[in-house]
Symmetry: C2
Subunit: 426 residues, 2 copies
C-alpha cells in the first residue's frame, strides 16, 4: 500500500511512499502558521512566507540515538527522512569532532570553550549535512537531478553527494570563480556550468531554471525546507558530545542565517523531548563587517534586515540579503545573545589564532567566528565564566588566499647544521 501525499509539486507521476519523511507531518509557514502538505513547496500558498518542516515526534531515548550510525543519521527520527535513510548511498556526514579548546580559552580569558569542527565532514564543510537531507528529500519526492547555484562549499557538497548517489548534478557558478573551486567541484564529474555574471546573476538563473525543469531539485531553492533541517544536527551533536547537556553560550557564523536558526530549533526539540535538561543558553551571531546586514539590524534595534552589497574576503558568508535574517534577530534577542561583526583583518587574525592555539585550520567563516568571539569577550557581551561553543563551519584549505602573504617560513637556510644554528633555530 502506498499513501500518497502527491501534489502538483511532485515531479511527473511519482507517488510518495509511506514514511518517506519519517516523523515529519507537514510544512508550516514561518509567518502565518498555515500548513501545507509535505511536497516540494517552499513558499506558503496563503502568504508567500517561507515554509519549515513540522513533526510529530515519538518518544526517543539517548540510548536509541547512541545505537545509530556514526553520522547524522543517528538523529534520523528528528529529521524529515525515512527510517531506512542510511541504506541509500550518501556521503555520511556529521559526528565531527567537538574539540575542547583550552589554549584558545586561555588566550581569550575564557573558562571553558569548545570548537565544533565541521571541517571534518566529507567535503570539509557543514554543507554536507544539509545536502544529505536535501538529497534524501529529492529522492523521495521523485526528482532526478540535484542542482544548486554556489560559489564554493555548496558546489563541492552537491557534486560529491550526487556522484556518490549515482544521480546527475548541475552546479552553476560565476565564470570568474577561482580555478581552485572549479577543480574541486568539476572532479566529481557532474555538470558544472560557468555563468557569465555575478553570483546574483547565477542565483536568478537558478530560480528561473527551477521554475522550468520540474524534475530538478535545487537544494537551496525548491527543497530548501528539508535542506535547512540538516543544520539541526549541529545542535544534536553538540549536546550529545557534551554528555547530553546544553552549553551556556554558542557563537555561530551568519550567511543566510539558517544555520543559527536551526541550531536553536534543534536545541528546543531536544528540550521538548526530554533529551537534555532545560538550561538557559544564549545564541550569538558572527558576521564580517563587509557583509553585516544582520549585525546592523541588531544594533539599530530593527526587526527587518536591509540588504547590502557584500565586500569581504569571507566569501562563504557573503550573502547581502540573508533569508533568515529576521529569524536570527528573534533567536538572538529571545536568548539574550547578540550579533557582532569584525573586519577582514580581524578575520585573518581569527584564522591564525585558531590554528596556532588548537591546530584547527578553519576557512574565513571560522576566522569570522573566532574574531567575533574575541570581540564579544572584549566588549563584555559574552560571559567569560560560562561554557561556550563556537562553530568552525569549513576548511582553511579552501580559502588559502586569505592567509597568503600573512604566514610563511621563519627562515630559509643552507642545508647544514651550522646554517641552522646561525639562523637561531636551535
Amino acid at each position: 500500500m502506498t499513501t500518497t501525499y502527491a501534489d502538483s509539486t511532485t515531479p511527473g507521476t511519482h507517488t510518495i511512499r509511506p514514511g518517506a519523511f519519517g516523523n515529519a507531518t507537514e510544512l508550516r509557514c514561518r509567518e502565518c502558521g498555515a500548513a501545507s502538505p509535505l511536497g516540494a513547496h517552499y513558499a506558503c500558498s496563503e502568504c508567500f512566507g517561507p515554509l519549515e518542516v513540522g513533526y510529530d515526534f515519538p518518544e526517543l531515548t539517548r540510548e536509541q540515538i547512541a545505537a545509530g550510525p556514526h553520522n547524522i543519521w543517528r538523529y534520523r527520527e528528528l529529521l524529515p527522512v525515512p527510517a531506512d535513510v542510511a541504506s541509500f548511498p550518501n556521503t555520511e556526514p556529521g559526528l565531527t569532532r567537538l574539540v575542547r579548546a583550552d589554549r584558545l580559552a586561555a588566550d581569550l580569558d575564557l573558562a571553558r570553550l569548545w570548537v565544533k569542527d565541521d571541517s571534518g565532514n566529507p567535503t570539509h564543510s557543514f554543507k554536507d549535512r544539509v545536502v544529505a537531507v536535501a538529497l534524501t528529500a529529492a529522492r523521495e519526492l521523485g526528482f532526478q537531478v540535484l542542482a544548486c547555484p554556489s560559489t564554493g562549499n555548496l558546489a563541492n557538497a552537491v557534486a560529491a553527494a550526487a556522484a556518490r548517489a549515482g544521480i546527475r548534478s548541475v552546479v552553476m557558478v560565476p565564470h570568474n570563480l577561482e580555478q581552485q573551486k572549479i577543480l574541486t567541484t568539476a572532479v566529481y564529474g557532474g555538470t558544472l556550468v560557468a555563468v557569465e555574471g555575478t553570483y546574483d546573476d547565477v542565483n536568478r538563473l537558478a530560480s528561473e531554471i527551477a521554475g522550468e525543469e520540474e524534475t530538478w531539485a535545487f537544494v537551496n531553492v525548491n527543497v530548501r525546507p528539508y535542506y535547512a533541517e540538516g543544520s539541526k544536527t549541529l545542535a544534536y551533536e553538540i549536546a550529545e558530545q557534551l554528555g547530553w547537556r546544553l552549553p551556556e553560550q554558542i557563537v555561530v557564523p551568519i550567511a543566510s542565517g539558517a544555520q543559527l536558526v536551526k541550531i536553536d530549533k534543534g536545541i528546543r526539540e531536544l528540550v521538548e523531548l526530554g533529551l537534555v535538561e532545560d538550561t538557559p543558553y544564549r545564541v550569538y551571531g558572527a558576521q564580517a563587517t563587509g557583509c553585516s546586514p544582520v549585525s546592523a539590524a541588531f544594533h539599530a534595534g530593527h526587526d527587518v534586515v536591509a540588504p547590502v552589497k557584500p565586500q569581504t574576503l569571507a566569501k562563504s558568508l557573503a550573502i547581502g540579503n540573508p533569508a533568515d535574517g529576521p529569524y536570527v534577530l528573534d533567536v538572538v534577542r529571545r536568548t539574550g545573545g547578540s550579533v557582532e561583526d569584525v573586519s577582514d583583518d580581524e578575520v585573518v587574525d581569527g584564522i591564525a589564532r585558531l590554528a596556532r592555539t588548537e591546530g584547527i585550520f578553519g576557512e574565513t567563516a571560522g576566522g569570522v567566528t573566532v574574531a567575533t568571539l574575541a570581540k564579544l569577550v572584549r566588549t563584555g557581551k559574552l560571559d567569560p565564566a560560562a561554557e561556550t561553543v563556537i562553530i568552525n563551519s569549513g576548511d582553511g584549505l579552501k580559502t588559502l588566499d586569505a592567509i597568503a602573504g600573512r604566514v610563511g617560513p621563519k627562515a630559509t637556510i643552507r642545508p647544514t647544521y651550522e646554517a641552522f644554528t646561525e639562523a637561531g633555530l636551535a
Copy 2:
C-alpha cells in the same frame, strides 16, 4: 612511586612514569630479534636493524573498545601509549569513514568493495594517526620539541598536533615547495624552515639535527618505532567497522611501506587477541611507476629493494629508498597478494574515477591505489568475487595540480534560460 626506564636516550633528567607506554614492554629488533628497553631508540644496539614495539597484551573485548572515544584512542590498549592518553590535548584522529563503494565496484566488476577514507582526519591525511602516537611518545620521553622533515602531509600533521598540544614544532621543507603547502603548515605558527636543497638534503639535515638537539623528537626519526604503530589503527578500524571481521583483500599505497606492514601487524594482533576470526586475507601494495622500487623487487623476485630516483606526480609516495620495503615484500608474499605500479596518467584517471563514482576526492596517493586496484582486476591478480578494502590516505584538495587541465566546466553561458537550453544543459 616512579619506576624508571630512563637511559641515555631519554632527554636530560626526565624519568619515565609507570605505564607511560601502556602494554608495550620493549623495543625489538626486526632483524635479529634483540630487545631494547622502551626509550628513544630506533636502531638495534646489536645489529643496527630497525626496532619495533613489543607488547604483552591483556584480555580485551570488543565491548571495551566500543566504549572508548570516537577516535584512535579507543584502541589505546593496543598502542604504546598510557591509559590516560586521551586526556592530553591531541588532534583526536581516526574513526574515519569506511565507505561501501558499490558504484566503484560496479565500474570495476567487483562484488564488494569498501574505501577507508582517511581524508576525514583533522589535517586530512593518515599522518594524523602516526603523529598522534609520536606526540604521546615524545611527551612521555621528555622531549620538548616535535620536529620532522617533510614535503606535505606530515608537515601539516606535525605543525597542527604541536599547536594543539602547546609545544614547539620545527618543520623543515625544501625551499621550492609549492606556496600552498607552505601556507597550510605555516598557519599553525610553529617554526617552519625552508632549506635550500632537495628533500634528500632536508632529510640529511634532520638526521644531523636529531643527533645534536637532544630535546627534539623527530617523529619519523628518533621516535619512529612509536610513530609507525599509529598505522595499525587503520586495520583495527576496518575490522571493527566491518562488524569485527577481516576483509579478504586490502590494497594499500606504498611510500616507506610502513603503513602496509603495520596494517598487517594490526590484523595479526586482532586475530591473536580473538577479536576477529582467523580468516585468510591478501595484502596488495600500490606504487606509481615513477617511484616503484618495491614493485620492481616484487616482480624480480628479490628480497631487497634497490633505491630509485623518484619521478612521479604522486609526491606523497615518492620515497625512492623505502625503509620498510623488504618487510612489505614479506607481507605481500606471505598473504598471497602482490605489488603493482601505475603510470601518472592512470593515477589521474584513478582520482577522477573515485570522485565520479563515490564522491570522494582523494589525493594522488588515492589515485595510485584506485588505479592499482583496476590493474589488479584487469590482470587477474585480485579475486573480483572476494571482499576488498582500499585505503584513501589523503585529500585531493592538497594536490589540485594533478587534475588541473583535466577537469573543468562543461559550458560557459550567458545568464539566461535560453542560453542554458541552447547549450544542451536542460
